[in-house]
Amino acid sequence: MDISSLKNTAQGTEDGKEETTQYIVVGLGSENYGINIRYVDNIVRMQRITRVPKMPNYLIGIINLRGEVLPVVSLRLKMGLETDVYEKSTRIIILKTENEGKMGVIVDNVREVVTLGSSQVDKVDYDLKSEGKNFVTSVGKRENGELVSILDLNFITLEENTQ
């Protein structure tokens, strides 16, 4: 239901009734990642984060989003990249998840919103997934040839209790 309401009609005129989904493209280092827009509640600028002791390193802390206290996770640390350097372009994407409520993820920057038809999105094949942490469900090919890795929301929201 959500997806159908997000159908981009402009896109739809091009090739009939293909289902399309919008993704927010965020930058992390040199790569682009797409987040399904229906999980995105809000995008806010970097703000003061209160550290919570005894938490895994990727769980940066908690922020105040209009009177609501939300946990914030670093995508970089979660993916095993180097620590975030907070810059002017750094953003916190507020995701609304079904199981864990709202939470924020820190990204280097937010680039654009793309609309991809289902034929443009390929599931990641098994080999790529099996090596190490897999946090990408599929890869979208844009018309200009750029590739967008579509993030697996479960990966972000799932807690690692191994710590």
């Binding site: 003061r48 209160t50 919570v52 009177g67 206290v69 939300l70 864990e100």
Partner: protein, 694 residues
């Protein structure tokens, strides 16, 4: 039919009905003749049955159905209320409660058929008719339904003639006739098994209205809608359709047993219009109508009284707690906004005008806050009204006579507190009943009334709500407690010699401490009082006991009015701000590093005669203290029950009223953080749970 969306409503209403049943049966026990009570019980049981049936809970429906049978016999005077019956009824209530619990937890009623209970109910039904004259009665009652059904169908054909018509209605019928329409009398009989009679009747009304116009209905449309009819209702319809069409339309509605009808002979009815009934059908109809009228009159009076009662019941609106939370969030935001305004003006040294506005804002936010908090408040009634029943059961089980007196059931507490307070109170009451009250012989010796009294008083005291559980029993035998503690090795003989009575009584709150000489299933396993204490403390409350040997004891529970907003002490640890609830703080101390001693390699301080362990908060919180090792340390002395500890912090920041926010589901592991709060500048500070630290 998918009924899951009604589950919440079903549960709420079922609980209400069960509570009302419980109350009324208690009443019935003391006054077995009160027809009002019996009617009320019958109604509640009937609604329960209907609701359970609609939701598809067959077992629950069966049980309530059999209960209803018993009530119905009582109502008809065929069965007398006796103690055994009350016991069975209470057992049924417990079984129903169990179903409800199952439904609440799993959306399924479970598989317990409760056949023994149903059998006992049926035994009751038969038992009431055991004696010879009663046997006849039984036959009568057996014979009655078919007889009445016969007369129903027999006189059913004439029932529409019994309807009283006023001039206007007659006029309508005449006019309709002139326009070529016919007037039919229709009698609709609903199936016995039909649960939603009103709904079926409504469908019949609708179906008939498609064919023509309903001029008169007996009972009135309003009564039919409110389900105030037995099995059938009669309509006068003007229609252009044929009689068969109208009857068919009504028959198409499911769960309708029969529909009969005929063309009304208006001329006849008109002749007799001054009279209530139309004897056109002859004496037979009149005879059958008279008792019917009497019955309906009786029914009316019976109906009226509960109706009056109903208006006394407070009208409430069920509000989704989420909506309240949103409101609460908004209010806390407003408070934050106010706080930041206050701090901003402090910096700017603004003129007097701004100050006034801020004062106004402060007033508004305070009252808004209060009113929102009030919405969250519910009377403790919902918890305590199950206690009279419990005491009654205990009285039987322990074979002691006792009476529970309650006051202040209307005292309000935060919803979350009310939900939690039930168990501790139950423990205390059981405790009073079992340990407190003496046996009848002892009471007689001491010159006390044979019936023991337990009091449950609730009242508001400033920002606290106080709940007292009092009994006129034996009181706490401190010597016995002391002996038990020595025997268990909880205290040494030296300690015992110097302990005050109060200290000895406090021993009762230790885990696995019971002075009961024998373990009953009521109490005595020693899991009671320490649970009470920890539960009350987890609600930021406290419990204390006053007792006089031979006279009785009083247990006092003191609870904060609300949990969402607390007074706190803000502290700085390694540059981070933390809040500590003021309620758990004993004192603040400044201590030289040299006074910190080591005991078993753990840091302690010696303060006013007691040795307190030190907890270095910088280590607990994984931060680096901003103080040098030579500087004096600031220690916050916190208490958890009897235990105390010193928390070493870097800096005191001052007192602040804070709004507690949950950390969200994602952050689960942190034990000693109980929540977060938003400070005036928008920054988030964590709240330390000192209970988890000690």
């Amino acid at each position: 039919m998918d009924v899951s969306q009604y589950l919440d409503i079903f549960l709420d209403e079922t609980k209400e009905h069960l509570q009302s049943l419980s109350d009324q049966i208690m009443k019935l026990e003391s006054d077995s003749e009160d027809m009002n009570t019996i009617n009320e019980i019958f109604r509640a049981a009937h609604s329960l049955k209907g609701m359970a049936g609609t939701m598809g809970y067959k077992r629950m429906q069966n049980l309530t159905h059999d209960m209803e049978n018993v009530f119905s016999e009582v109502r008809n005077g065929n069965l007398k209320v006796q103690p055994a019956m009350i016991d069975v009824l209470f057992a049924c209530l417990d079984a129903l409660d169990e179903y409800t619990q199952n439904i609440q937890n799993t959306a399924d009623e479970g598989t317990n058929d409760n056949e023994p209970l149903i059998k006992r109910l049926n035994d009751l039904l038969q038992g009431g008719n055991n004696s010879a004259p009663a046997e006849q009665k039984k036959e009568e009652t057996k014979a009655e339904p078919p007889a009445s059904a016969d007369s129903g169908s027999g006189s059913g054909a004439e029932k529409w003639n019994d309807i009283h018509l006023d001039d206007a209605q007659i006029h309508v019928i005449q006019e309709a006739r002139k326009q070529g329409m016919e007037c039919f009398g229709i009698n609709v009989v609903v199936q016995d098994s039909c649960l939603l009679k009103a709904a079926r009747a409504f469908l019949v009304f609708k179906a008939i209205e498609e064919k023509g116009e309903i001029i008169v209905s007996n009972p009135s449309a309003q009564d039919v809608e409110d389900e105030r009819f037995d099995k059938d209702f009669t309509l006068l319809v003007v229609s252009t359709s044929s009689l068969d069409d109208v009857i068919k339309a009504a028959q198409n509605v499911s769960e309708i047993a029969s529909v009969t009808g005929a063309v009304i002979d208006l001329e006849k009815t008109k002749d007799y219009k001054p009279k209530e009934e139309t004897p056109a059908a002859g004496p037979a109809a009149a005879a059958s109508a008279a008792p019917a009228a009497a019955a309906s009159a009786a029914k009316n009076t019976a109906d009226k009284k509960p109706a009056e009662n109903k208006q006394v019941v407070k009208r409430t609106v069920r509000v989704d707690i989420e909506k309240l939370d949103v409101l609460m969030n908004l209010v806390s935001e407003l408070i934050i906004a106010k706080n930041s305004l206050v701090s901003a003006t402090g910096q700017v040294q603004a003129g007097a005008g701004v100050g006034e506005h801020i004062e106004y804002l402060e007033r508004v936010t305070t009252s808004l806050h209060e009113s929102v908090m009030k919405v969250r408040m519910v009377p403790i009634e919902s918890v305590v009204n199950k206690f009279p029943r419990m005491i009654r059961d205990l009285s039987k089980k322990l074979d002691k006579k006792m009476e529970l007196y309650m006051t202040g059931e209307g005292t309000e507490l935060d919803r979350t507190v009310v939900d939690e307070i039930g168990d501790p109170l139950m423990h205390l009451l059981r405790n009073s009943a079992d340990h407190g009250l003496e046996s009848a012989e002892v009471r007689a010796q001491r010159g006390k009334p044979p019936v023991g009294s337990i009091f449950l008083d609730a009242y508001q005291d400033g920002n606290n709500v106080v709940i007292e559980v009092r009994d006129d029993g034996n009181g706490i035998d401190t010597e016995a407690v002391k002996a038990k503690a020595l025997e268990r090795g909880v205290i040494t003989p030296d300690q015992a010699a110097v302990m005050t009575d109060k200290e000895i009584i406090d021993l009762l709150f230790l885990p696995s401490f019971s002075t009961a000489k024998k373990v009953t299933d009521v109490s005595g396993r020693g899991v009671g009082l320490d649970v009470v204490k920890s539960k009350i403390e987890s609600l930021s409350g406290e419990v204390e006991v006053k007792s006089q040997l031979g006279v009785g004891s009083t247990w006092t529970i003191r609870l904060p009015l609300t949990l969402a907003i607390i007074q706190s002490l803000m502290v700085n640890v390694g540059g981070e701000k933390y809040a500590i609830s003021l309620g758990s703080i004993q004192s603040l101390e400044s201590i030289a590093p040299s006074e910190v001693k080591l005991v078993q390699n753990k840091e302690v301080i010696y303060l006013r005669g007691s040795v307190l362990p030190l907890i270095r908060m910088d280590q607990v919180l994984d931060v680096k203290s901003i103080r040098g090792p030579e500087e004096e340390i600031t220690v916050v002395i916190v208490k958890k029950g009897d235990k105390m500890a010193g928390l070493v912090i870097d800096e005191l920041l001052g007192q602040l009223e804070i709004v507690i926010k949950p950390l969200g589901k994602y952050i689960k592991q942190c034990k000693f953080i109980s929540g977060a709060t938003i400070l005036g500048d928008g920054e988030v500070a964590l709240i330390l749970d000192t209970n988890a630290l000690i």
